[in-house]
């Protein structure tokens, strides 16, 4: 398989400087800027928009060409929305026909292919296993759908989180339409595929390229499978050791926990694992993917360097602990995951939330109070007799100082709460009660 050979060759060529945690010089920044500019220029022709041939399916996503024959990496939920027959649009507006190949809806990785004959502009695939927290990356795509008035916008950021389901999170901001678009390393190699976003502008999820590679053969042969569930905790079997997650030349063992598989097999802190279950491993993330395919109780052959010695051993994987060995960045991931489950509602306009509904649009009066600009029919505001033009002076006996404090006050209440409104209409003042409703 060509892509595997390619990736092995890349492994050998890799050499990355440690992510910087100190202030850099302008020259260092310029060196990085130069790389970003070069990558943006080089990869631009390969970043395509993906649409359905069927005008009744008006979704649009992105993709990136990785083989000259027109093979495209994209997101599973893009081809799920477009159907099998695709229109591939290049940044310069040229079009080609394409078809959807297989996709893993669980990881959100997908493939597509240009069906027209041609020598298509392809980019290289890199290694997400090699990427470390803090490494810089570049995201591209066709946000908002294909737009002939601009090229795919370039966004740069850093990788700051990795989940065990094969997701990378970067601070490259994404929006609708970017889905399926590529995340590049500073050499212009694809290391991830844009997948989804959260309220926090730094929460941009990408499918790790090596996770996509795991499903390569299946995707080439089959249609889409799995269901859309992103879980940062996939409950992998346990080794009982802590590793250097930035390992590049074999996985370095930092700490071994008593009475767990690693210590039972005689693995010691300082050992460097270079072979795992028959596969050469250079990085922690690669080894993690291998463990992810195993079950507790499976016996694994491991080869490691201990000083100048080479040691072979066998270990039996344990059940995942309920609370895994919590390490700082995993704890954070968990915290973040909990946050995700919490209500991000206030920031999502189309969200149904437990917010009180009043039903009046308020505007600035230029002075005191808030002017009612419009009242929704049958809303609590309408029931309380408010009409456009009324000026709200007080809410629950608090002076209203503009539309924002008024909305904030209303927002602080619950559906079902009563609110006393003092208004001015012309020269006369009125007082009325409204009962807040549930926003629907």
């Amino acid at each position: 398989m060509t892509f595997l050979r390619l990736s092995l060759a890349l492994f050998a060529a890799f050499s990355l400087a440690a992510p910087s945690l100190r202030a850099e010089t302008i020259d260092e920044l310029k060196a990085r800027e130069h790389k970003v500019q070069e990558v943006a220029k080089k990869v631009m022709p390969s970043v395509v928009a993906i649409m359905s041939k069927d005008p009744k399916k008006p979704g649009s996503g992105s993709g990136v060409i990785v083989q000259k024959d027109g093979l495209i990496l994209t997101a599973a939920h893009v081809t799920a929305a477009t159907g099998d027959d695709l229109v591939i649009v290049f940044p310069d507006g040229k079009r080609a026909s394409g078809k959807a190949l297989g996709a893993n809806r669980g990881t959100d990785a997908g493939l597509a292919k240009i069906t027209d004959e041609g020598d298509w502009p392809a980019v290289e695939m890199g290694s997400s296993d090699r990427m470390r927290l803090g490494d810089w990356c570049i995201a591209m795509g066709h946000p908002g759908g294909f737009n002939y008035e601009r090229r795919p916008p370039v966004r740069a950021g850093r990788i700051w989180r990795r989940d065990s389901d094969g997701a990378i999170f970067s601070s490259c901001p994404l929006i609708g339409g970017d889905s399926g678009g590529p995340l590049f390393d500073l050499e212009g190699r694809v290391i991830g595929i844009n997948s989804s976003i959260h309220g926090n502008v730094r929460m941009n999820r990408h499918v790790a390229i090596d996770t996509l590679r795991d499903d390569w053969d299946k995707m080439m042969k089959e249609k889409a499978w799995g269901i859309q569930v992103f879980s940062p905790d996939s409950g992998r079997p346990r080794l009982g050791a802590e590793f250097d997650r930035d390992s590049q030349e074999g996985v370095k063992v930092l700490e071994v926990f008593d009475a767990l598989p690693a210590s039972k097999a005689g693995i010691k802190a300082g050992d460097v694992i270079y072979k795992f279950d028959g596969a050469d491993v250079a990085t922690y993330h690669h080894m993690q993917r291998l463990i992810g395919k195993k079950k507790p109780g499976d016996k694994i052959k491991v080869s490691l360097h201990r000083g100048k010695e080479n040691v072979d051993c066998e270990l039996e994987l344990a059940k995942p602990s309920k609370r895994r060995e919590s390490k700082p960045d995993e704890e954070e991931n968990e915290k973040e995951a909990e946050k995700d489950k919490g209500p991000p509602e206030p920031k999502i306009p189309d969200e149904k939330g437990p917010f009180p509904y009043f039903g009046a649009e308020l505007e600035d009066t230029g002075g005191k109070g808030a002017r009612v600009a419009a009242v929704k029919e049958n809303s609590p505001a309408a029931k309380a007799g408010l009409v456009a033009g009324d000026i709200i002076l007080r809410l629950n006996d608090k002076d209203v100082d503009g539309p924002t404090p008024a909305s904030e006050l209303i927002r602080s209440l619950k559906p079902g709460d009563k609110i006393t409104i003092k208004t001015k209409r012309g020269e006369t003042e009125h007082s009325a009660d409204a009962t807040l409703e549930k926003k629907s």
Partner: protein
């Protein structure tokens, strides 16, 4: 379309391309239902904004220091404004860095963020000159925008809608805080609505002015920072898209939707009712071959040509039909501006956007995550070159900045306290076309009126009544 997964509340990125987004010239239909405009002030403020409040004590301190100075000014109203002297601020660093030190150990998100203390600090040398021409606009102890000093006699350029109420009246009590901490009240002397720029004035002389750089061509991927009067930038990012025209109203509009799957040229899938295309007789399946004598090969070729033409301009288009080629002569209309319609609601979920955020005739797109009250200041490259002025936070992924060259064009009369209006030339040309169209329509109208009058004219008495009735049917 699913917008959320049940578990992680992850929002997928596949945008439903509504027919509006697919419409031929890229424009939205004029009769599109208007979505309510997102109101940032009704939304909870993001953490970044809250953090800024913690800067208050610092601002208050500066305020105290400045108090005597202000009184001095008031005491001598008739006197000429004092020469503004640049002082070197020896304050350790900008707020962000201090905040960092206060917090208990950074999370991965902060440690590996795009705007860590270390990264902002790396930019310090590039800020050195430009920050001296940058001001912080404040009102009621709150930061409301940045501004650029653009003339030594006290003129300051900023984003108009951030210093005005919704009716365009200047907010009261705005002050400009200079890099040395000096605070002066501002007056407004002019506004450029199209670019949403305001020209303010403070009573000061000898201001250091913004060194707009017209020569540097920003390319996608160029590193940029949003300068402040302090030593460190408020945000950093990269140029996402080279400068382009965002003013759809100045772009020609034909009103057709193309067959996206058709690869052998430009095939019309649908003609918008009432559009210039339908009036000129375009029909579905027409294949567009030539525009004003030039062949067009792709949909984008065609769209680009039409977009650079002006509304009311007449254009010759040759289409291929089964029965042979035909020349049609539509008169283009003005492309409806997108407005809030079609905007992805996910744009506002990561924090508020600027109220005024579209339609600038020349704007560079970048990927900083600015708060609405962080625009109005300069963007600077790693050499300290000023590439433009930040004009809007327009989406989750995008901010717009007006390039320096355009800013300089708008400011060619700044010494007189007003904006230059280079865009008027284009508008006048558009008016000329509109007048010509009106003239044609008037002629048509006259002819119609004449025909109607003729038809309804009383018939000479000699004719019979019966004939008249038949004619009317």
């Amino acid at each position: 379309m699913k917008t959320r997964t049940p578990i992680l509340a992850a929002l997928f990125l596949a945008v439903p391309l509504t027919p509006a987004l697919l419409r031929a010239d890229g424009e939205k239909p004029a009769d599109a239902p208007k979505k309510e405009e997102a109101k940032p002030e009704d939304k909870p403020k993001p953490p970044k904004y809250e953090e800024q409040k913690s800067e208050k004590p610092k601002a208050a301190e500066q305020e105290k220091k400045e108090e005597p100075k202000k009184e001095e000014k008031k005491a001598a109203p008739g006197e000429k404004p004092k020469k503004f002297e640049e002082q070197k601020s020896d304050k350790p660093a900008a707020a962000k860095e201090e905040k960092k030190e206060e917090s208990k150990g950074p999370s991965a998100e902060e440690k590996y963020g795009r705007e860590t203390a270390e990264i902002l600090k790396s930019w310090e040398p590039a800020m050195d000159e430009v920050r001296r021409a940058t001001v912080q606009l404040i009102r009621d102890k709150k930061d409301i925008a940045f501004g650029c000093a653009v003339h030594e006699n006290g003129y300051i350029l900023t984003k108009a809608s951030e210093v005005e109420d919704k009716k365009g009246v200047l907010l009261t009590g705005i002050e400009a805080r200079f890099p040395d901490g000096m605070r002066l009240p501002v007056k407004r002397v002019d506004v450029h609505r199209q670019y949403d720029l305001a020209l303010l004035r403070v009573e000061a002389r000898g201001l250091k002015t913004m060194p707009w750089d017209e020569k540097t061509v920003p390319v996608p991927g160029s590193f940029i920072a949003a300068a402040t009067p302090l030593r460190l930038p408020v945000a950093v990012g990269v140029v996402s898209v080279a400068p382009r025209n965002l003013d759809d109203s100045q772009k020609g509009y034909l009103g057709v939707r193309f067959d996206e799957a058709w690869k052998e040229g430009v095939k019309i899938a649908e003609v918008t009712a009432g559009s210039p295309a339908s009036k000129a007789g375009f029909v579905s399946d027409d294949i567009i071959k030539m525009v004003d004598g030039k062949p067009v090969a792709t949909i984008e070729d065609f769209k680009s040509v039409i977009a650079t033409m002006r509304p009311y301009q007449s254009v010759k288009i040759v289409v291929k039909r089964e029965k042979g080629d035909r020349e049609l002569n539509p008169t283009l209309a003005s492309r409806p501006n997108a407005g809030a319609f079609g905007e992805d609601p996910r744009n506002t979920m990561s924090g508020p956007l600027s109220n005024n955020r579209r339609g600038y005739p020349d704007a560079l797109q970048h990927d900083m995550s600015l708060e609405p009250n962080e625009v109005g200041g300069p963007i600077v490259d790693l050499d300290g070159h000023v590439l433009g002025i930040n004009i809007a936070r327009s989406g989750r992924i995008e901010c717009f900045a007006i390039p320096s060259k355009t800013v300089k064009g708008l400011l060619s009369k700044v010494g007189e306290g007003k904006f230059n209006h280079p865009e008027l030339e284009a508008l006048r040309e558009q008016r000329k076309n509109a007048e010509a169209t009106l003239e044609r329509v008037k002629k048509d109208l006259d002819a119609l009126v004449k025909r109607i009058n003729e038809a309804e004219a009383p018939i000479p008495a000699a004719e019979s009544d019966g004939d008249e009735k038949d004619d009317k049917k």
